[in-house]
Amino acid sequence: MNGTLARFARRIAPQLITLAVVVAMIGIVFPGFFDISIANGRLYGSPVDILNRGAPVALLAIGMTLVIATGGIDLSVGAVMAICGAIAATLIVEGYSLPATLALSLGAGLLCGLWNGILVAVLGIQPIVATLILMVAGRGIAQLVTEGMIRTFSHDGFASLGSGNLLWLPTPVVIWICAGILATLIVRRTALGMLIEAVGINRRASMLAGVNARLLLVTVYMVSGLCAAMAGIIVTADIRGADANNAGLFLELDAILAVVVGGTSLLGGHFSLIASLIGAMIIQAINTGILVAGFPPEFNLVIKACIVLAILVLQSPALQGAAILFSRAKGQP
């Protein structure tokens, strides 16, 4: 049992160290970063902002990790966010109850996932192409739902999902942490994780060993759709309006980046949800750090790109091999 724990610690160590380094860097350029106070009945401060603003990418990263573990990719999550946010805002404006609104918009997310899953698993279309379809069409669908405008609502119960508090934390933080724990438990306490990895590494061999690869693939895309729906609901609730043009725009790329920074190979196979979630926080820490640092906005993307590049280079197999050799050389007299 101890071995498992040690292996887990080794697995997520690079991500934790990276997060620590990024946070320390922010602390240097913005000394007030670590000030945390309690205001309006919740923790308040930049670290809390990172957890809060990172919620959409963290949620997307959960689904994306599973999809990538099967050797696929889901480019449609940003568009699915827009669709589900648009549906949620429209329904709440039309006077539906909150539970009905949530059920219907989460259902829409599942439906989007089902669509992707069928294209990939049943029709055998390459995942990048299959999900590209919904990525392109999805934003259009969202605009049809909102009729091209920002659908603003004033429903405090719904809005609290985005900007309310729970247990002294912003609600989105509680949502993504719970979703992450739940997903990890489901995947690791059942055999789901292992079967997903098997399909990702060798689909044919898994099928011949009796793994229901088709059902599994459809399932992971549906989970990804569900995660995107949650992210879309949070974003919509947060700004009290559904912005079909901008909700989740390019977030699929951040989610993929989070998974990659989390150390899961894009080729599929072994994955770690926790590492992906830390990856999502690393990316959000960079974003928030740039905002509080006060650089001119023209530098935002360049700074982000440089930091991400540095992280990926440090995690690259070539450099890791060198590090192992180095430590061994030092360790042996």
């Binding site: 309006n40 603003r53 091209g148 900007s163 700004i239 912005d243 905002l291 509080v292 023209e298």
Partner: protein, 319 residues
């Protein structure tokens, strides 16, 4: 064969002249698409304005594609409309089709955006002056602060876009000379509500929980609406603790103003067609050549201007 065609063409031409003189005008309108609420409102208002003047408006939605717009313009020319309104999706590549319109003696009026073609190729362009909008916002803040020290944070539009550059420049011109007003932080909010909120949160953290901030200037209303929520969640009163001035005048900002949470907005009017139709009428009636650029009014709205009523008036326009 040739003679027949010629005859047909001249017949058609004479009929066109006849109809323009006697019957209602037919005007073609090539719209970019409906990428934003403002654009949708512009379409709605153009249709309303045409109806009010008894103009038969032929509407064509280009869905963000220049080739669709050029096709639409050619079809308008072939139909022999009396005039063409076009909101060009890009600035270049219009020379050929504009020449065709000119040869067919159909005046073209540009709405909202400019093109890089020879000025002779179109009658006039109706649009807003982005720098001026920023300047109006800046002047309002100078008046409102009335000499008191005021630290301003700025939410810019998408980095590198012309509204972001011009509205920033205009605002800086507006506050030039007022030494009491200083821009202490400026960051992009990508014109979106979500980014506006996120960036405002970071401003509040970085500036002593917002206590250093006296006013927010946002390059559009959407970002301001997001920022207002961030300010509220930080336990401050938007509109009071932090003054809010932004640009566009979309319905939601009037709602915020009515609630006392925003202070001022500068209108980017979606009514570009009204001045265009007026100029066209003057040109057709007595040959008055309009100026090459008709600047729409950048009207300032504050809490005194009955924001609740403005909200009601605008909410049906498709914003």
């Amino acid at each position: 064969m040739f003679a027949k065609t010629l005859l047909g063409a001249s017949l058609l031409a004479s009929m066109t002249i006849l109809s323009s003189a006697a019957l209602a005008q037919t005007i073609g309108f090539s719209q970019i698409g409906s990428e934003s609420g403002w654009r949708a409102a512009e379409t709605t208002i153009t249709k309303q304005q045409a109806e009010k003047r008894g103009i038969d408006l032929k509407f064509s939605d280009a869905q963000q594609k220049q080739e669709n717009q050029i096709k639409a313009l050619r079809s308008f020319i072939a139909q022999g409309v009396d005039a063409i309104l076009v909101a060009p999706v890009v600035a270049t590549g219009w020379d050929a089709v504009l020449k065709e319109a000119k040869e067919a003696e159909i005046p073209v009026i540009l709405l909202d955006r400019m093109v890089d073609s020879d000025k002779d190729l179109y009658l006039t362009a109706v649009g807003s002056d982005l720098v001026h909008e920023g300047e109006v916002a800046g002047k309002w803040l100078v008046d409102d602060a009335a000499g008191k020290e005021c630290n301003v944070v700025e939410l810019q539009g998408t980095t590198g876009s012309s509204p972001a550059i011009d509205r920033k420049k205009g605002f800086e011109q507006g506050i030039a000379g007022a030494a009491n007003i200083k821009i202490i932080r400026s960051q992009t909010g990508d014109f979106t509500r979500a980014k506006g909120k996120e960036v405002m949160e970071s401003f509040l953290k970085a500036e002593n929980g917002g206590k250093n901030i006296c006013a927010l200037y946002a390059h559009n209303d959407d970002m301001a609406v997001g920022a207002i929520q961030a300010i509220k969640e930080a336990g401050l009163k938007p509109g009071t603790d932090i003054k809010i001035v932004s640009i566009d005048a979309v319905p939601d900002i009037f709602q915020a103003m009515a609630a006392g949470e925003a202070n001022a907005t500068v209108e980017l009017t979606p009514n570009m067609a009204g001045p265009a139709f007026d100029a066209l009428k003057a040109f057709k009636d007595n040959g008055t050549m309009p100026p090459k650029f008709i600047q729409t009014e950048s009207k300032l709205y504050t809490q005194k201007d009955d924001p609740a009523k403005e909200y009601e008036a605008r909410k049906g326009l498709g914003y």
